[in-house]
Amino acid sequence: MSGFVTYIMRRLIAALVTLLGVVAILVLLVQALPGDPARVIAGLQATPQQVTRIRHSMGLDQPVTTQFWRYLDHLLHGNLGTSARTGDPVWSDISQRLPYTIELAILGTVFGVVFGIALGVLAATHKGRWADAFGSMIGVAGISMPVYWLGILLIVLFSVQLKLLPIGGADSLSSLVLPTVTLGVFSMAVVSRMTRSTMLDTLDQEYVRSVRAKGVAEWVAVGHALRNAFIPILTVIGLQFGTLLGGAVLTETVFSWPGIGQLLVTSIQSRDFPVVQGIVLTFAAMFVVVNIITDLLYSVVDPRVRLYR
């Protein structure tokens, strides 16, 4: 057990170092703004007083190392700064919208994993036949599909033409359907490609063949193989979670979904950097946490995996 605790501690420290690096980059990026950063962030219509206020509130009148420590100090006190546009605390804006983004990310992942594994297993168990060709086609089409185009196509079909589902917003359960499918298709494609290739390997292993030789039903043999194919599938779920968050930004914009992705786009358009910094940091933290969780799931899925020595 102590090995496990050490492992967790090591992962958490590595995660903290990564997040510190993200903060450093975010602080440096503001310095890279052309001209006077405070003037750029305040906007063209800002009065000199407003520019001064932003320069002071973001600490832009101090050396960059001071800005970094100041940002960290505020962060530890739960303060991500205030929006340059509205003057609202950034964290309150994020915390109101974050549940929507998490909800969408979870649903998109579940959709991608369930349908991706199903499609991958179908392709692997029908290698060389039409189901395999179909699965491979969906796989490569899914990773090539612009998520924003897919979203609009679904809106045109299901909302405009068939009038079955709402065009956007987050008012009812039915408004979850289209954003979930839009966001989940990429994950589905990635997971199905991974599932197919690992299933083809495991289906050929000795133990699956001996299970088959006993004359069990085909799905039992496939179940045995699938259990061992889970590790690479989990890895790909963790790694593509970042892409999923990027997709969430576009999906939220297409469906007017009130999450932090949509807020990020409006903040970037208005160069509201305190908000951009807060949201990017939140996304990075989500990515890091999800990857720690998938690592921990390895040993649950396959007890032979020892994460620690």
Binding site: L33, S136, S144, I152, L153, G242, I268, R271, V280, F283
Partner: protein, 304 residues
């Protein structure tokens, strides 16, 4: 990540005063090209890509319509014999815009990957070959960049650089940069263990020469395969930025921004958003199909 192939030193004549040149060994390009040529999906991808490149180059000969010329009296015309794909909200011919738009979208994708390769490969090779502190520093920075994801990183960079074609290209390139660092590092790690590298070290070649002559040359095939797969990704990223209105600016007929502009008219002119989206999809698909085919033929170890 394993090395592309095992070298067969015995088959190579050892050059006077040096070690056998690693790049000339083992590979049988024609055999691998035949494997590639037999891959039907890859050939379909190559065909689509060839069509896009042809149309983008010869757009002025293929259409007489000006992609930026506004004609409000013929706005929102549905596809017809005169305007095959219809006209947009400002009466511009959508087909002409897509034909010319290919120039921007394809160029952005290729240059962005070129930027990622030119910066990422040297850093990755140095990181993997030298190890030690250089490796640790480069890898920690890569970890940090990877936690952003390509699209988010590009989006944030555009906020800094400002909108426009040039900043989108650079942002998309930096977006996929960490993947190239990782790939090149993995290649360097495995290639540095090869006998010919040990021999080069024994012959007293300088690290810079070894990196260039042996490591880079042998890592090139997987890097080029990976680059092809990444052109699709950078096109998606750049078009996504265009879609959000922070990429190419009007009246540039870039496909992503065309899609973003068309979004407002999905109720009465859904065809306006259909074709730019289809163009992005097919272009990305073609690069992915060709990339998949190259990978299967030249370096199956890169598979997923």
């Amino acid at each position: 990540m394993s090395s592309p192939a095992t070298p067969s030193l015995s088959a190579e004549p050892v050059q006077a005063g040096g070690v056998p040149e690693a790049g000339r060994r083992r590979r049988l390009p024609s055999k691998r090209m035949r494997v590639f040529a037999k891959n039907r999906a890859a050939m379909v991808g190559l065909f689509i890509l060839a069509v896009f490149v042809f149309v983008a180059i010869f757009a002025p000969l293929l259409t007489s319509s000006d992609p930026t010329l506004q004609n409000l009296s013929s706005a929102f015309e549905a596809p017809s014999a005169h305007h095959w794909l219809g006209t947009d909200d400002l009466g511009r011919d959508i087909l002409a815009r897509i034909m010319y738009g290919g120039r921007y979208t394809l160029t952005i994708g290729v240059i962005a990957v070129g930027i990622a390769m030119c910066i990422g490969v040297p850093f990755g090779l140095i990181s993997g070959y030298l190890g030690g502190a250089a490796d640790m520093i480069i890898q920690r920075i890569t970890d940090i960049l990877l936690s952003f994801n390509a699209f988010l990183l590009a989006l944030v960079l555009v906020a800094v650089f400002g909108v426009g074609l040039r900043s989108v290209t650079i942002a998309a390139g930096i977006g996929v940069l960490p993947q190239f660092i990782r790939l090149a590092r993995g290649q360097a790690l495995s290639i540095r263990e090869e006998v010919y590298v040990e021999a080069a070290v024994a012959f007293g070649e300088k690290p810079a020469t070894i990196l260039r002559r042996h490591i880079l040359r042998n890592a090139l095939t997987p890097i080029i395969v990976y680059a092809t797969l990444n052109v699709g990704l950078t096109i998606l990223v750049a078009a996504g930025l265009g879609f959000l209105g922070v990429g190419a600016q009007p009246p540039t007929p870039e496909w992503g921004s065309m899609l973003g502009e068309a979004r407002s008219y999905i109720f009465h002119a859904s065809y306006e958003m259909t074709f730019p989206g289809l163009a992005i999809f097919l272009a990305v698909l073609s690069f992915n199909l060709v990339g998949d085919g190259l990978r299967d033929a030249f370096d199956p170890s890169l598979r997923e």
